[in-house]
Every structure is written in C-alpha cells, then in structure tokens.
C-alpha cells in the first residue's frame, strides 16, 4: 500500500516536487473500498476510492487554458468540512495555489455519481479518489512537458502550477493542458506525493464555507432567491402515518396570500408571492380533521413493543472455541434506545424550477443521484431531464426531510413552469414527518472464567431497518400522496461488514467465543431511516456499558479490563492515550462524582475512538454536569486536523444529547413530539465544561471515516461515568435527570 513511500524523493525547500520514474509496483493510496456505501458497480477494480466507479480523470479534474483548475466531487458539504478537505488534497497533490482551484460538489449533471454522502465515507471514497486523480493529473502534465522538451520526466519538477526543469525553463499547467486530454483512465502506477513534500495535507486550513456563514452570505438553499420565485408550503396531517379527512382544497385557494393551490390525490401545496401569509394559512389548516388509516402504533413497555415488531432472525457472527473452558460466572443485561429525531435546526427546504423541459431541484439531500431517479419516476420524466444540485441546508445527521421536501418542491414547480418555487417545511412538519432513528433493544450475556477473562459472549440486537432513503418514487411522501400506486421499497437489512441495526455489534475485543444475532424488525409503526452512526450508537452503548458491568463483576479497572481483551494495536493506542491524557485512575474527590470510559472503532472499519468523561450528579435534581471529556482519535492519514476535532467534539455533544435527553413521544395515533418543547435537546447549561480531542496521525495510511466515530463511545462513556458516580447502572436511554434521581 505504501510502496511509494520507500520511493520517495523530493527536493527540499522551494516547494519543488519532483516527478517519479514509474515502476510497476508503485500504487496509489487505497482505502475505503470495502463496503462502498454508494452501491455503484466498480468498473475499474483496483483503483482506489471512488476511482473504482469513475476511473476517468476528467470526471474529477479539469484544467483550463488559463491554468484554473476545477475539481469535482460527488459528495456534499453537510457542515462536516468535506469541501475544505477535498480542496486541501487536490491543491497539494496538484501543486497549485488555492486561488487557482474551484470545487464543484454533488450535482447530477456535473459531478461523478458517488451515491450518498453518508456512513463517514466521504474521505475514504472521494478524498482518496481526488487525491489520486490529482496525482495522476500532475504526472500527466509533466509527461506531456517531457515529450515537448524531449527530456526524461524524472528530470522535471512541479511548483505552484508550473512544470520546471530546474534550469529556468517553465511551463504553466494551463498551456500544457491545452494540448492534453484528461479523458483517460487513472493509472495505478502513479504514486501520490511523498509525505515530506506535502504543503497543505495535515495542516490547519480554515474551512472555506465558514466566512459566508458568519456574515449573512448566501450559504443555504433556504437563502436562495431567484427572479420570480414563489414561496410554497405543503399541507398534510400532523405526522407521518396520518391523512387529512376530505380537506376542502377549493377553499384553500381563497385564503389570503395564497396565489395558487397545487393538488393531486392527497398532495396539496400552497403557493404565494409572500411567505408570511402562507405561514398563517398553514396555521389555519392545522385545525383540519385527520385520521391514521393504518394499524395503531403499539404503546407500552419499550422492549416489549420493539421485540414484537415481527422479528426475522439473522445470524451475524458465530465464533466458537471451547478451549477456554467453562464460565464460572455469567452476567446478563438488557439495554434499550427510544426513537430519535435528526432534529435539523432549519426545517427541510428545496427550490425547484421547471424550465425548457428540465426540472432543476436545488436540494440539501445527501444523495442527489438516487433522489433524481425517484423524482423522475414520480414526475414521469426521463432522469436526464431532472437535475438535482446539492446546496447546503441545516445539518441533517442522516436521512431527514431533505428528499421529501425536494419532491414537494418539484410537484409544486411543475404546476408553474418558468417560475422557481421555494418549498419550506414548518417546524411541526419537520418534527412530525422526518424519518426517525429506530428504537433498538440489545441483550447481552457474558461468561467470565476464574481469572476474570471473558470466555463467552452473546449479543442480540432488535432493530428496524436503518435505511429507507429514496430508491424509487414510492419512498417519497409526495409520491405516496399522489394516489398513483407508488409504494415504498421493502425495508432492507444492511449487511455486514458495515451493517445497519447491527452496525458495531461485533466487538473488536479478542473474544474466542462470540455469537451475535440480529433480529430484523419488519413492522415499522413509526417512519424510520438513517440517523448518524446507525446501529453503532446503540450497540456501542450496550457493549461498552456491559464491559464496565463485567469489569465491575471481576473488580477490575475498566480501562485495564478493556486492554486485557484488546489485541488491536491501534485500538490500544487510542485507549492508552485517552487514559493518559485524562489521568485515568486518579479519582476526582466529591460524592456523586465518577469517571467513565468507552472505546469503539466505527464499523470496525473506520476511525478508532476512545473517550473518557468526568461527571458529577447533582443530588437534588439528578442533573449531570460533565466536567471534562477527553477523546483520542485515529483517523488514519489526517488532512485537516481541526476538521476532525470539530467532528469529534460535535459527536460527543450530540451523543450526550441523544443519550441523556432525547426520546420521541407518541401515542396510538401519531408522534406527539411536534416541536422543541416536546422534544428537548441539549442546551448550553448541560454542555460539558471542557472537551479535549487528541489526534493520532498516521501519514500515508488510508483515510478512516470519522464523522460518526464518537457517537457510540460518547454514549457509553456518559453512562459509565453516571454509573460510577451513583453506583447504579442505567440501561434505558435517555438517561434523564428524573431517571437518575429516582434510580439513585
């Protein structure tokens, strides 16, 4: 994998980077190929990252005659900083200044189809592809120059957008590119830059999207304003699963400020020139009668409800080795998680325009290509006449209302050709209709031998699907409302190695005897889909809580107990570094004060992350004060260190919010968490006093997805710290103040 490292060659100083005499053994950087999230077939097996699906260089990089470079990625900026990381990679590998580079992100008509921006795959898939494509382009530019000057390519160097022979002769990339086709497949034999020659990779580069966000620039699809644009709102029942009873559509047209009502089947949209009257109209229509046509939602004991949703047994792991002997002690525990909401701060929004027979939709969907297919089917248009362009929205953390509102916008825009339509969901619609993160149950049983080693492990997880993203029209709410027979795809059980509800259900610990079973739940009484980290949040919460329960049963220190069962060196490194930095083992004085620890490698394929927390439980209220959280993370090759820190800090806080504060409320008819007052999330008073993130850099190693790495460890470290502080173990999320107070 790192053959090029031993061949590294660079000229020190001046930023000159020499070209390489190529040999057959040199390879680009691999990584991220296993378990591709995008489901596209590989056409060029062996090429790293998304180059396997899109091997042709000019799908990634184009060099104009003036030397300006355009880089294309099929991934989308979600606030995770992917734009900045891709720009760093491309500019560094190409040896150009940032001012010469323009980045185009997910757009069905111009970027390579990289499927979804999900699963912490962006650096693994797209970062790897762009870096290697850029290395290829730099080399081809030099090869072309070598031919022109009739010199060996290895005698040439590149610097700041030029090829030079070191004797004063230079040629600008633009001039070379004018006679060079980049419509050629990437070559495996062209290496990345030597690590020592890097200028930008691994360095701090401020995020390129932040300045506009701090100054009121047009940063989000919500901010788009096109000439002649109409505002729009959609009219539906209060929550998914509900329908309005015989709404008087004709009367809606008479509401003040409503210029046009678009309706077909049960789909109803209000269009108007001003926004506020539409908001008022929607409030009036919120009084309309509604019903739930399907089965009532089962209520009552969470574990019983979840386990009763038509489980289908799927073996995940059956590892057997009887040589360890008999267990002398068994420990068993059951953990549960409620349905969780993505809860974007800005409700979902899209702008659509039907013009010259082309439907263009500006959307914050995580998958412009699958969305295009679904919307084209819904509209009965050929896919090539539908264009979906990603524009940032409010952070989504998975499959929220983004795709549905895009379909709503398209249906509304179809009725007013030539006029752009900005469709925005209300807060209540976002809370009521977004797909939820599924509720889950995990039951764990562990056998310990006489010296306190785990010799048997049984993990059972009950979960709905974690992906109902649009694969066809029927997956979109609007299409279902049309009454034209569009139905959703059957729920899919995502397979290992990445898994869905079973994501991270296989512990990374060295367990000779281990059995893992997924109970895939086929009934979906509440609409569900992907929320950040899928099953990893729940499985790691359970496994790492249980590791502490086992450590307690053997009177072992939780960190020592983990290390005793961990053979993976990179895992050990982040565990040890977190423990060192945190000063693990040194108790903070005070009653109701405790330390908690947890570890996971996301998907067992992505970043390694260990987290320690110091918490205090307030006696009267049960409130949890997180005094300090410390994380150590190994993401492989680091491109933007602060980007990784930002993701881990955010992941820790979001996971504290999920784990400690959140649960979707519902009754037999519908969800009842209609806004923030009935779905409270973390506010500043419950935010940790300090968070530190330590990074383990592995230059030259594959990128390891990081965006979701903290969700599981943070949840378990929080639970373990509360258990250490109070002496009582809480196994049902959320670990609320009330639960802590009454169980203490």
């Amino acid at each position: 994998m790192n053959a090029h490292l031993s061949r590294r060659e660079m000229i020190a100083g001046g930023g000159l980077v020499v070209l390489f005499a190529l040999g057959p053994q040199a390879t680009g950087q691999g990584g991220g190929v296993e378990g591709q999230a995008n489901g596209e077939g590989e056409v060029a097996p062996g090429l790293p990252g998304s180059l396997g699906q899109h091997p042709v260089l000019d799908s990634w990089i184009r060099v104009a005659a003036d030397g300006q470079v355009t880089v294309f990625t099929g991934k989308a900026e979600l606030g995770q900083g992917i734009k900045t990381a891709i720009v760093q990679l491309a500019a560094d590998e190409l040896d150009i200044g940032l001012d010469r580079l323009t980045l185009v992100t997910a757009d069905t008509h111009s970027s390579p189809d990289e499927g979804l921006t999900a699963g912490s795959h962006s650096m693994e898939d797209s970062g790897t592809a762009v870096a290697n494509a850029a290395a290829n382009v730099r080399h081809l530019l030099a090869e072309q120059t070598a031919r022109l000057w009739d010199v060996p390519v290895a005698s040439l160097s590149t610097r700041n957008g030029q090829v030079t022979d070191g004797n004063g002769r230079t040629l600008d990339y633009g001039a070379i590119a004018a006679n060079l086709s980049l419509h050629v497949p990437a070559r495996l034999d062209i290496p990345r830059k030597p690590i020592g020659a890097r200028r930008l990779i691994g360095k701090h580069l401020p995020r390129i999207d932040i300045p506009a966000k701090l100054t009121g620039g047009t940063a989000y699809v919500h901010d788009m304003k096109l000439p002649g644009m109409l505002h729009a709102r959609v009219v539906r029942g209060p929550a998914e699963g509900t329908q309005l009873i015989d709404p008087d559509v004709a009367a809606m047209a008479g509401l003040p400020g409503v210029d046009r009502v678009v309706s077909e089947g049960r789909f109803i949209a209000l269009l108007g020139r001003r926004e506020w009257p539409l908001v008022q109209a929607l409030r009036i229509l919120g009084q309309l009668e509604w019903e739930r046509p399907g089965e009532p939602i089962p209520t009552g004991d969470r574990a019983a409800v979840v386990k009763g949703l038509s489980p289908r047994v799927e073996p995940i792991l059956d590892r057997q080795d009887e040589s360890g002997g008999e267990a002398v002690r068994w420990v068993a525990a059951r953990y549960t998680r409620p349905w969780l909401m993505h809860g974007a701060i800005g409700p979902s929004c899209a702008v659509a325009l039907l013009e010259d027979g082309i439907m263009t939709i500006w959307t914050h969907s995580q998958g412009v290509n699958p969305l295009r297919g679904a919307i084209a089917e819904m509209l009965g248009m050929p896919p090539e006449r539908v264009r979906c362009v990603h524009v940032e929205g409010s952070g989504c953390y998975g499959h929220n209302g983004a795709d549905d509102v895009a379909a709503d916008a398209a249906l509304a825009a179809r009725a007013v050709p030539g006029r752009p339509v900005r469709m925005l969901w209300s807060r209540e619609q976002e809370h009521g209709w977004e797909p939820l993160g599924p509720a889950q149950v995990v039951e764990l049983r562990g056998g310990l031998d006489a010296v306190g080693r785990i010799i048997a492990w049984n993990h059972q997880v009950w979960s709905n699907t974690h992906v109902t993203r649009p694969s066809r029209a029927g997956d979109l709410i609007a299409a279902q409302e049309l009454g034209r027979g569009f139905t959703p795809a059957s729920p899919r059980s995502l397979p290992q190695p990445e898994g869905g509800g079973d994501r991270n259900s296989i512990p990374l610990y060295a367990l000779a005897n281990a059995r893992v079973t997924k109970h895939f739940l086929q009934d979906m009484p509440l609409r569900v889909s992907a929320i950040r980290s899928l099953g990893a949040h729940m499985n790691v919460f359970a496994i790492e809580s249980f590791m502490d329960e086992l450590a307690l049963a053997t009177r072992s220190d939780p960190v020592a107990f983990r290390l005793r069962h961990m053979a993976d060196m990179r895992a050990r490194t982040v565990i040890e570094r977190t423990a060192d930095r945190f000063a693990w083992g040194r108790r903070t004085p005070g009653t109701l004060r405790g330390h908690g620890f947890a570890f996971a490698r996301y998907k067992n394929l992505g970043a390694f992350c260990a987290i320690a927390m110091d918490v205090e439980v307030l006696r009267d209220s049960g409130r949890v004060v997180v005094h300090r959280a410390v994380a150590s993370v190994d993401s492989g090759d680091i491109v933007n260190p602060d980007g990784i820190r930002n993701q881990i800090e955010g992941g820790i806080l979001q996971s504290i919010s999920w784990t400690g504060h959140e649960a979707v409320a519902y009754d037999e008819r519908s969800r009842t968490s209609y806004d923030w007052s009935v779905y409270p999330i973390l506010r500043f008073e419950d935010v940790p006093l300090s968070v530190e993130v330590d990074l383990v850099d592995r230059p030259g190693q594959p990128f390891l997805g990081t965006g979701e790495a903290a969700q599981g460890p943070a949840a378990a470290a929080y639970a373990n710290a509360i258990a250490a502080a109070t002496g009582r173990r809480l196994r049902e999320m959320p670990l609320t103040d009330d639960a802590i107070r009454t169980r203490r």
Binding site: A212, L214, T215, K225, E275, Q654
Partner: protein
C-alpha cells in the same frame, strides 16, 4: 407603512404590521443571516438585536419595532471587515453546518454589549435560548470567551482558557 431602522439604515416597509420581523428581513430587505428555525421562539436561530437586546425575529411583529434600532449579523461586520464577534467565531472555527451561528453571534453580541466580563455561568445562560444540533457548543463558548477578551474583558472563571 412602518419605518424600520436596520443596521443603521432606515427602511419604509409596506406590509401587514403583524408580519414578524424575520420575514421582512429575509424577503424584503435581503438580509439572510437571521434564519427561520421554528417560528415559535424555541430555537433562537432567528435572533437579532433590538436596542442592544436579543429578540426572536420569528415572533416579533414589525408593528412593535418602529423607532427601535435593529441590528442583524450583517450589521456586525462584513466578510472583508468582520466585527469582533465574527472574528472570534472565525478564529475558533465555531461552526459545523452553521445554521444556528447567526443567532449565536447575535446572542453573544448582546451579552458583550451588556458586559465584557461575564462569568462562565452568565455566558452559558445568555447563550441558552439558541439551539445547536451539530454539537458545536464548545467552540461557540470558546468564541464568546475570545470575543470578550478581544473587547478588553474576559470570562471571569472560564472553563477553558482562551488560546
């Protein structure tokens, strides 16, 4: 007709006086920093300053604002000449998706206009009405501490030092 003073400029607005300020800012004045989040005064992403105090623009009718001094994030500075709070947020890279950040900056500005030396608890209480879903809170707090220091004060018992 209502006369609104926004970021030092006077505007004559001819819409229903019950219209919340947010829609006038975004749709009539092309000021996009303040965001729609809930329309209920629950999330704070629409926060702007009225006479140095933070208000939820999504539930404040313009009828109540004649003669008051309205400041949005656009009034704090520009990309080329950012204000202190904007500089501090940039320095701390205090954004992920960034949707809540204009509301956060408005809250921070209001706090620092009141006092440049708040306590940690005062700062957190001042920021409390704005929700962030990305979990950027640590950076937002760092940015407010930094801005307080840049204005000649500082958070008196800062939970994390300004680096």
């Amino acid at each position: 007709m209502i006369e609104l003073e926004v970021n030092g400029t006077s505007h004559r607005i001819n819409v229903d006086p019950a219209t919340p300020l947010l829609y006038v800012l975004r749709d009539d004045l092309d000021l996009h920093a303040a965001k729609f989040g809930c329309g209920l005064g629950q999330c704070g992403s629409c926060t702007v300053l009225v006479d140095d105090k933070p208000v939820f623009a999504c539930i404040t009718p313009i009828a109540a604002l004649a003669g008051r001094m309205i400041t949005t994030v656009e009034g704090l500075g520009t990309r080329e000449a950012p204000g202190i709070v904007q500089q501090a947020f940039a320095e701390e890279q205090a954004a992920q998706c960034g949707y809540c950040i204009p509301g956060m900056m408005a809250r921070a500005e209001a706090l620092l206009r009141r006092t440049t030396s708040p306590s940690e608890a005062e700062m957190r209480a001042a920021m409390r009405p704005v929700l962030c879903r990305c979990g950027t809170h640590m950076r937002i707090l760092r940015a407010v501490r930094r801005a307080a220091a840049m204005r000649g004060g500082g958070v008196t018992d800062a939970a994390e030092p300004v680096r």
